[in-house]
Symmetry: C2
Subunit: 169 residues, 2 copies
């Protein structure tokens, strides 16, 4: 799932850009929601290419019966497939939920420059559980992490999803 | 990449079984070696199904341009695809190199019962770097980890690979 969407103004401040890209990720989370999947979406953007969106994905762990079917992993694998390189240097990922340990480590493996996430995940989020590998100097790649961008919308979507699921049981 | 191979004697002790399955994983590592990939192989075995091999994979990160193309991730995704469930409960994974953080976390995500690995990886192995998530009670799944099975063969294959690579530079 790719998009050639670019921001019209390259001079737009990073925060404004980030709100826009998180909006794109939230749209992907809504797609997951409508398919009965935990609503998480991710978007990968190339900083050096006028912030072009390289790939975007929705969580599809249940429907694809894939334990690695998290939105971040899919967006990373799609982006690498598109550019023909496992190194996503110069790119950043936007994701609507704090990455789990597997996804945060995959972001390291792909050499992404950084991650913006929306809602915090106190039970499963790598950072919330103090697995701060993004700044571990023993590892071969470090990157930045910023949480909380559009966290309200993402947290509401997630709580709506789980409430509906409980009511349908 | 799957195999219907089963052990003839279900009463064979676990250590003997483990030596055999690590031998299978080492064969997969040799396939990676011959393709110019870092030689790592993995095999997933179903304990409840007479230790049947469900899937096996070789590292193909470079040739597939996939940062998630590690042997463990591929074996996990293959196994889930074969059984049609992201939960690999009752299964164990054999891998020729200590899993990195991404792969150890993927083993948790897939709910595997445990992991046997061969060579230790002091620079990139999750356990060697003290990321002991396999026994973290805050997480929703814990599993066993045993290292060192056939470590000599695996370590030799890896050092042969990197020596040849340096010489060809």
């Amino acid at each position: 799932m790719t998009s050639s969407l670019t921001l019209s103004s390259s001079s737009m401040p990073l925060l404004t850009k980030s709100l826009f890209f998180m909006e794109c990720a939230l749209k992907k989370a809504h797609i997951a929601y409508n398919k009965g999947e935990v609503p998480v979406g991710a978007v990968i953007v190339d900083i050096n290419n006028n912030f072009k969106i390289i790939s975007s994905s929705s969580n599809c762990k249940e429907s694809s019966a894939d334990p690695c079917g998290h939105a971040e992993i899919l967006a990373i694998r799609n982006a690498s497939s598109i550019i023909g390189d496992w190194r996503l240097t110069g790119m950043i990922i936007y994701v609507t939920l704090e990455p789990c340990l597997m996804c945060l480590a995959a972001i390291k493996e792909a050499r992404l420059d950084g991650v913006f996430f929306a809602a915090y995940d106190s039970k499963g989020g790598a950072l919330s559980l103090n697995y701060n590998l993004y700044k571990d100097k023993r590892l071969n790649h470090n990157f930045f992490v910023v949480g909380g961008i559009r966290s309200f919308e993402s947290a509401k979507l997630l709580s709506d999803f789980f409430r509906a699921k409980r009511q349908n049981k």
